[in-house]
């Protein structure tokens, strides 16, 4: 099982297509840095197909961008400690950029 990290906006359409192609059931996708914008409730990113509880957004990065309160409610808010916990839980991580 894999922890996927995305740090770019949905403007990078090809990137999001490739991530979705690579994700398996039981994987987790964490949106960090500019990846947080993909968590906006109304977005072009093709994350809607991913099951609830499998996508999170890094709280610190979402907050600095003014995104708290604007995020898709299916997303988990993950703080830095939670980020580390995810890397404990998932032996493998993949950074998409």
């Amino acid at each position: 099982m894999t922890l996927h990290l995305i740090n770019r906006t949905p403007d990078n359409r090809g990137l999001f297509d490739d991530v979705v192609e690579a994700i398996s059931e039981g994987d987790y996708l964490l949106l960090i840095e500019d990846g947080c914008y993909a968590g906006l409730a109304q977005t072009r990113a093709p994350l809607g197909s991913l099951p609830r509880g499998s996508v999170g957004v890094l709280k610190e990065d979402a907050e600095s961008r003014g995104l708290l309160g604007r995020l898709d409610e299916r997303l988990e808010l993950v703080d830095m400690d939670g980020f580390v916990t995810l890397t404990e839980r998932f032996p493998k991580s993949l950074s998409w950029f």
Binding site: N7, I32, E33, T85, T87, E88, S93, F97
Partner: protein, 131 residues
């Protein structure tokens, strides 16, 4: 306790990647794990420059990496092939390339890519921070 290696591709001050790597390293240490190795590759090598002089009200990335080394004995490894192209040289390489100055000093070490392979094999986790 898990042992972590970080792979940093991101140039300092241009993208958030170096900051993200640092705060992640600090959070890993705070949870009682060890950050054994940080490997700087591509434009990430610029994190190792001893010559950076950021404004006083901005984080000094070089100092923060050195502090991580001091408190956690983290190896700070710089890919020598990526570094030489980009002006990151230590005293030995400067001499070998006939350069009057150098820009890399301990605890940053110039090493080969083999050290990255080694870090992947020996540590429990590898997390990449990209631009």
């Amino acid at each position: 306790m898990l042992s972590y290696a970080l792979l940093v591709h991101a140039a300092p001050y241009s993208t958030q990647g170096s900051l993200s790597a640092l705060r992640f390293a600090e959070a890993v240490v705070a949870r009682g794990h060890a950050v054994k190795t940080v490997f700087f590759y591509r434009d990430g090598v610029h994190n190792a420059s001893t010559l950076m002089a950021p404004p006083q009200d901005e984080v000094h990335l070089g100092e923060r990496w050195r502090r991580l080394h001091a408190t956690s004995q983290t190896e700070l490894l710089v890919c020598v092939a990526a570094g030489l192209r980009r002006g990151l040289v230590n005293q030995a390489e400067a001499k070998r390339h006939d350069l009057a100055m150098h820009s890399v000093e301990p605890p940053f070490e110039l090493t080969g890519l083999g050290q990255l392979v080694d870090a992947m094999l020996t540590h429990d986790r590898l997390i990449t921070f990209a631009p």
